[in-house]
Symmetry: C2
Subunit: 515 residues, 2 copies
Amino acid sequence: MSKRATRTAISPTRDENYPEWYQQVVRAADLAELSPVRGCMVIKPWGYALWENMQRALDGMFKATGHSNAYFPLFIPLRYLEREAEHVEGFAKECAVVTHHRLEPGAGGGRGAAGEVRGAGGVVPAGKLDEPYVVRPTSETIIGEMYSKWVQSYRDLPILINQWANVVRWELRPRLFLRTAEFLWQEGHTVHATAGEAHEETLRMLGVYADFAENHMAMPVVRGEKSAGERFPGAENTYTIEAMMQDRKALQAGTSHFLGQNFARACNITFSDRDGALAHAWTTSWGVSTRLVGGLIMTHGDDDGVVLPPRLAPQQAVILPIYKDETQRNAVLDFCRGLERRLRDARYADEPLRVAIDDRDLRGGEKNWYHVKRGVPLRIEVGPRDLAAGTVSVARRDQPPRQRAAVAHEQLVADAPALLAAMQDGMLQRARRFLADHSTRVSSLAALEEYFRDDASAGFATAPVSAAAEQDPAYRELLGRLKLSLRCIPDAADTGTCIFGGEAGAPAAVIARAY
Amino acid sequence: MSKRATRTAISPTRDENYPEWYQQVVRAADLAELSPVRGCMVIKPWGYALWENMQRALDGMFKATGHSNAYFPLFIPLRYLEREAEHVEGFAKECAVVTHHRLEPGAGGGRGAAGEVRGAGGVVPAGKLDEPYVVRPTSETIIGEMYSKWVQSYRDLPILINQWANVVRWELRPRLFLRTAEFLWQEGHTVHATAGEAHEETLRMLGVYADFAENHMAMPVVRGEKSAGERFPGAENTYTIEAMMQDRKALQAGTSHFLGQNFARACNITFSDRDGALAHAWTTSWGVSTRLVGGLIMTHGDDDGVVLPPRLAPQQAVILPIYKDETQRNAVLDFCRGLERRLRDARYADEPLRVAIDDRDLRGGEKNWYHVKRGVPLRIEVGPRDLAAGTVSVARRDQPPRQRAAVAHEQLVADAPALLAAMQDGMLQRARRFLADHSTRVSSLAALEEYFRDDASAGFATAPVSAAAEQDPAYRELLGRLKLSLRCIPDAADTGTCIFGGEAGAPAAVIARAY
């Protein structure tokens, strides 16, 4: 082991190689791994528990804003996908297509009916479908088909439905959580009688996402509208929350789409209004995915592993009993169980505090680092000497891993909720400072280029960019060369002179490298 | 409207046409509907909320027995499925197969590259896969592949993981919830060092299922082992819980499989034991699905719609305000909001009581029947006269729909939890009596045949059946002719003389018609 590797739990460090650091952190925390199925990951128990906590918080927020959950088919008939021209074009390159509905014994080696390679004597696809099905990359068209049946009158509106589901977008260069062929997400799909209501809904859900990112994930975000070139295929307006990772790249963490009447027309969602006139409805869709887990890791992780915000941590505290023999063991474990109960009852964020005892037969150091790497907010060691002194030894994940404090156990129980709240808030403040420290405003093309070319700590640059710029070859060349993209327009009223074409009144746009 | 139709909310009644009654109940309660995707259903908000409550209760029970959730890929490489011969044979006829990974513009009408029909100018499947993927019908083989990497030593065991997921088993004759091409389920997959531990796990989870069915769904079940001919493809032993629907047919409501070392061998799951010797592990799998929703409906539904057991009802009580003008409205709604809050705080089954106010602009009768059909346990009407009298008008879903009682509102708040508990228990007792009343024991082939041929209320018959009988042509002929199947062997120690082949010591088996 190299000298450096003894100083941090993760090698390489963030500074040494950020992408590789990310892979190693995910592995060390046992969150997920790639599977032998091309581009697909396996979400392991610790990673899934994190996602479950995200789901629970988001689901509560969706229900509090009037939404219900439902479930729609995994498969989309090809002709539905084709109904919206931009939509099918946007997803065509990454669709998994089901063409057969059974298997039958093959005639030996070689190629089967569908032309695929197979082993000697193996089964081959059979029962060809009259029409292929696409495994949903997103569900606007199949859900729209159902909505066209459910909506008749203005009295049927609004429809406010969310779906928790898996989706597939074929991906040959996967990155755990960030970009995988299959991922888990939620997709809200709503229908409204007026453009105004649909627009209000679109922004309401963007607000829910921003609230969740900041107050649960402790991940500050920039909200704004996507430019025309970055919209969801088929949307009139796409709004996004963009977070800054520790390599200062942007991560699109959630999007909310005002679909206008595009999908209502494509799917024939019409209703008779109060005057009896038939009109197309207005729809929205919005989604976040397991990508958020990647965003969480890259916002808070350090060179010793994952750092979990207390509100989402599957375990908020872990108790590590230390003993040498059976007599000590009984006394220590007995105390630990009482402490566990009292901590649980102490509650945090309106729920029982999530605490566990780790009594596995591992060496103390190994066990301690196990929980450091997994990001558990509080590590509480209890040995015979602590028992005698009435104290426990407490380590916080937001402090250096070897830093510990002896705390009277009654005080720990009394203080734990406030301690977790302070950690949660501290993580948000720290991430906010990071975002502010790596953001700048530029008012010329030269300044933009200089920022991203010369400033090793470049993050988000905000500059006036007109709607026309996306068609400008100079814009494309510069963004392509510096690997930049236009992330969003936070406030359309904040304008200046376009740094590309010089048009006046161009809205200030955030430009960054991105995942 | 016919005279009869004015007497019950659902037409036809259960007696008139049970299968059609079922379809109409699902429709009237707005639980689900078929989609244009072959064999696939859409689970609507009320049906999905019911499933969410089932999930929440089951998930808690899985976690209480030491299991964690994780997520594995939707797609299974064909060669993995082939590793276990019985397994692939068992699922080959119902597999959705992915053969292509993108779409490209077609050359016009006619047939595309994969031979499928398509519209003029439409897109067609492209990017043929080297090896087809099967959309998981169940995940033993893909999860086994991962487990083979995770398990090295006895110290890695047991692995106790559950997955909540969608699965696809191609189905051309779907019935909502009971049999659909795609369905939602959970599948537990565990790995153990010894056969004994794996067997214990298999039975533990069968016990969890039986507990859930009886104490949450109020659906009594017969537990037992499946005969060799009815086992899960690849299992050594399959255990089942079988419920009796109101048409006296059996519904297999959950299964738990002892897989022996079959999948460990197929997937190469080996570990070094305490002595350093390499051994194949022992695995189990177990699952329940959205089929349970169908079972719930058919156990408790009546001729007015669904009847929901309070523990699973998305709403346990609904408050229906009645008023004629704005002044009345304000007073009544104000009272309703206070009542809603107090009922919620009254709590039931360790949770806030789930209560809602329905203030939609509908006629009183229509609104009342809406909640009858959806099976809400308590309907509470509040009008100006109730306010004056200090009472509310309470109707219970387990009593005739027009039966109401005036109850002092303080008493309702005080009694509601006990009332719901009594309804939950009453539903279980009633279903238990139904099961007992339609079960019999027979000790001869003639008696079995007579029971199912002549007894219009025939349900479950228990008779000694030897393991050899399944190969007996007389057995097959009789079961085929009377559309019977062997559901399970509740207790291997309960034996007699086989009614088919006359062997002594044959275990008593439950025989019934089944879904």
